[in-house]
Structures are given as C-alpha cells and as structure tokens.
Symmetry: C2
Subunit: 321 residues, 2 copies
C-alpha cells in the first residue's frame, strides 16, 4: 500500500477543473499499487481512480501505458479506462507529478486463487495478447534476460544475508539463463505483472485487469510463465498441478501455444521465477528508512525457481507436451 | 495511513450477508485513521466505510463510540452513521477483529486551514458539545492530566534523544500542570482529536466530522483548547491570532465560555499541547520495525507548549478576556 504524495485542495481543484467530471466531492488515498500514489476520487459525475506517477515509473513510458489501456478497453477488455481532459489529454500534472485519471472498476482480487480463477486468468491473458496484436506502440522489457545482470549487480554482494550460498546460486542461474534463453518465440504486448492483486472478480467471473505499469513488448509465453508462478503455487510454495492445467488450458482455449513455446516453457517459468526473486531481493536489501511498503520475501521465488530447475517438460505443469 | 488487517473474500461475504446492503462490488483499503484498518466498501446499495478495530482501541469502549455517532447523527450533526445488521447490531466480527460499517461521508479535509475553516470548526465543536448533553453514556479521558504521568514514564528515559534537556522540561511541566489543572469546569462529551484530518468541507462549508475514537467525558473547554493547538498554528509553529479569534468566536456563537473557562484557557491550551507532545514522543520512541505509519514529530507540540507557557490570558488567543 502506498500514498507517497499529498495533494493540496487548490492543486486538486485546478487539476479537476480541466476535466468534464463536475466538482470534487471526496478524495481518499487508497492502498493499491506499490509504485504509484493512488486516490479514489468521487465527483459529481461518479467515482474515479487518480494516479500520481512516482519516480519508479519512467515519464517517457506513460503514453505507452495509457495508450495500451485505451486500446484494450476499446477492444472489449475490462481495464481502467483513461479519462481525457477538455484538451483531449490523458496525462496531466498534479503536485509535481504526472497524473492520470481512470475509471473506477468494480471487482475484488482473490487472496486464495482456486483452479477456476486460474482458468479465467489464462483466458484473460490470451485476450490481452490477441487484443494488443494491433496496438502499434512498443516498449522493451527492462526486466527481461538482458536486464537481469544489472539486478544481480545490485544484490550479489549482500545476497548471503538473506540465505547462505544464495550469491553463488544466483551467479550460476544467471549464466544458465543467459546461455539458454530463447529469442525466437512469438512476441507481442505482455502484461508482465498479472499477479492476483491485479485481477478483479465479481459474481464468480473475471471482471477486470488493472496495473499495466510493467506492460512491455516480450515473448507472449513468458507472460503465461509469470502467471504460472504467481497463481499456481500454494502458500507452502508447493506447485498445484490442477491450477497449472487450468491456467495453461484457459490460455490455450484462445491462443494455443506453438511447439517452440511449449518446449521453452520450463525455461520461461524458471526465468520468470528468477526475475521476481531478483527484484524482490533488491527491494529487500534496499528498504528505505521509514518505508511505507513492506517488501516481499525473495525466498518465496527462490523456492519456485528450485522447482522449475527440476522440470524438463511442460507436462510437469499439467498439460500435454 | 494504515491497513493493518487483510480480509479474505469468504470472511467478507459472510460478514456482509448479515446486512441488508446487497452484494459486495468492491473493497479497497484506504489511508485514513492510524488506529484502525479502514476499507471503502462498494455494494449494490452504495458506498460505506468498513472499520476493523485494531488493538489500540479498547473493545469495551466501542459501544460508546458507536452510540455517540448514532446520537450525533440523530441530532443533525453530520458524522459517519453506523449501519446496523439484520439483528440490529452495529458491531460485528471480521478477520479476528470487531468491525463496524458506517455510511460514506463526502467531503475533503483541508491541508492548510484558513480562518474561515477555523470559525466553522469552532461552531461544529460547540454543536458536538451541545448535542451530546443528552447522550447518557460516559467514558473517562485516559489521556487527561491523570493519565499523563504514565505517558511520561514511558518516554522520560529516552526523551533526550529527541532534544537535549527535554526530559527535565517534561518533569517540570507535568508537575506544574498537575498542581494547577482545573477540576471544576463544565464537563461533557468531547471529541478530543478534532484535527484538520477529521473535519470534512464541501463547497466552502463544513460537511462532516469523523474519527470519534478518542471521544470521552472531560472539560468542554479543553476540547476547544485541543482545536486551538491543531488549527491555529502555522507550518513554522507561529500562532495565528486571526485563526484563534475565528475558532473561539465560532465556538462562542453557540456556546459562550464561562468566566472560569476563559480564565483557565491558557492552562488548558498548555495541557493540550503537553498531551499531544507526549503521545507523539511515546510513538516516536517506540516505532515498531516495519511500521506502516510514520510517527509525527513531537517537537511540533513542544514549540506550541513553549508558546502557551508565556500566555497569561485568553486575550493572547484573540478574544476578549
């Protein structure tokens, strides 16, 4: 949870006057998203989410994120829809930050996903991939294999503080992933962070996706591998193959994986686990004093990585190889 | 801001089924209140605030707080109105906590109060005092002069870490306040924490009061002295006499102070500054590891205390003695 930036009444009134949404009735900081400051805004026209982009989000990437949300919404995918101001702009300035207003999405994230949720997430992910095939902006994935060496540099010297020997395992794993990472898989727009927090359900159905601020251009099947890590392990870090089957089959109902994607899947899952282990490790080792966000334990993803290291075929995840 | 307790979907559904408010559409943790966990709840019937009472709020005090909010709302004062479940109860259980559902109040707190806000706050405070004259529950003020010795015990040994010599000043001040504290002023229900965060404005008017979780039975004029400390000093800790006049005159429009209350006012203001300095000091010295709330600086109230120590008459606050 995070509200990093405060907004004064005058600044808010000036900002909102640019939009055709009536007078402000209420503004409440909400515990959603760890990268940005989010407010729930109530105006005479309804409820909105007001996001202030903090320093971890690059300004030059914002038009990509906003454009993607608009594109997906236009294509029938339920995600927050950017609200444009009277000048037709979706990005404005507020309290020294770039800010955007998006529609409020009903729905609740699930804390303990079941197989049925995994099936719906797989299908929604395929829908994102298919819908964004005609989205013409690109954004390189700074957190894919080429970016991992930098994460390793930031964490290696102190990795042993989290677990003895972790530094050596990281070095070996990075070398392995760099040597074997596939570069010829189908590429497109990926969400890259479709964790349970970012998927809403309502009345037993998937009702919307949020938080597109890691979205980028990368291998589509890598996105599914990220979801597998995020959705199909139990609290004790054991892999639930029923959920794996549900997720991958849900995805394949709309977008069947190619043979190359299936063959590469164990490696993609391994890379995804490595990526989240490394970003969590960097955050864990660099907790600012007075931080308002508790970092997540990197060892959760170390355990998932260990699981994937022993997998040789996508069959281990519950689907036919 | 604070969301200390997470609520599972199943627990929430079970809890909400007890109320006649339709199905849950959305639940978002909000950055409001530091003592409890607060969620904004959207159901088919509208928006509500769901509060989970954390350990700092005593369970046996909850019926007093809930009863007071109901009493004030019935008497036309805009404050969150407790929603009763199908059994007629305003308090339930959720995620191992006692929980209450209250109506959502539009309005925004002001970050930089002006004199006109102070006038409205003074009037609203008088309205709370007059409205609660017929409220028949009582709650002793644990944070009044009898409780201060305990706060001092918790902080004295380490007070010098915050400022050299602060420990000696605390001892002297406590002795002075205990020797001179008035015990014969008009008593009633006080809000006891009517800071700018807890007052909403809308369209230039005061639209509601929130956070009654420090409310108690104590000298009414002490409540006004708390407000004077909270509303009438500038960011540089200088006292703004225009705001002081506005606040006290606003209050007196509905409830004129007696001669005894006027005479005691400098001492009450001094005691109020001491009380907030001490609770902030205790919080400052006892920050839990990984705390999600940044404690407020106790020295802000030390500076206010120093100001009041030199005041000999209520005239210094901008009204005729």
């Amino acid at each position: 949870m995070a509200v990093y930036t405060e907004v004064s009444d005058d600044e808010l009134a000036t900002f909102i006057a640019n939009y055709d949404i009536g007078e402000v009735l209420s503004l409440k900081g909400i515990a959603e998203g760890v990268e940005n400051t989010n407010f729930l805004l109530h105006t005479e026209k309804g409820f909105y989410i007001l996001t202030l982009y903090e320093k971890r989000v690059k300004q030059e990437d914002l038009p990509f994120f906003i454009g993607l949300m608009e594109h997906l919404a236009l294509n029938g995918l339920t995600c927050p829809q950017p609200v444009r101001n009277r000048k037709g702009e979706a990005l404005g300035h507020l309290a020294g930050r770039t800010a955007a207003l998006v529609t409020f999405l009903d729905g609740m994230s699930v804390r303990k996903p079941e197989a049925r949720h995994c099936a719906m997430v797989g299908e929604a992910l395929a829908r994102v991939h298919l819908s964004s095939a005609h989205f013409d902006m690109k954004r390189p994935n700074a957190l894919s294999v080429e970016g991992w060496a930098q994460l390793v540099d930031h964490a290696l010297l102190r990795a042993h503080e989290v677990m003895a020997g972790l530094d050596e395992e990281i070095k070996t794993e990075l070398a392995f992933l760099r040597a074997h990472w596939p570069h010829d898989l189908p590429v497109g727009i990926i969400h890259a962070d479709l964790f349970p927090d970012n998927v809403f359900f309502l009345g037993g159905h998937l009702s919307g996706l949020i938080d597109f601020y890691f979205a980028c251009t990368d291998a589509l099947s890598y996105d599914l591998a990220i979801c597998l890590n995020a959705w199909c392990f139990e609290a004790d870090h054991s892999f639930n193959i029923t959920k794996g089957t549900a997720l991958i089959e849900g995805y394949q109902r709309l977008r069947p994986l190619s043979v190359a994607e299936r063959d590469a899947f164990p490696l993609l899952a391994r890379g995804a686990a490595f990526r989240f282990m490394m970003t969590r490790l960097v955050d864990w080792l660099n907790q600012p004093v007075g931080a308002l966000v508790r970092p997540k334990n990197p060892l959760e993803y170390y355990k998932k990585l260990r699981f994937h290291q022993r997998v040789t075929s996508i069959a281990a995840y519950g689907v036919i190889a």
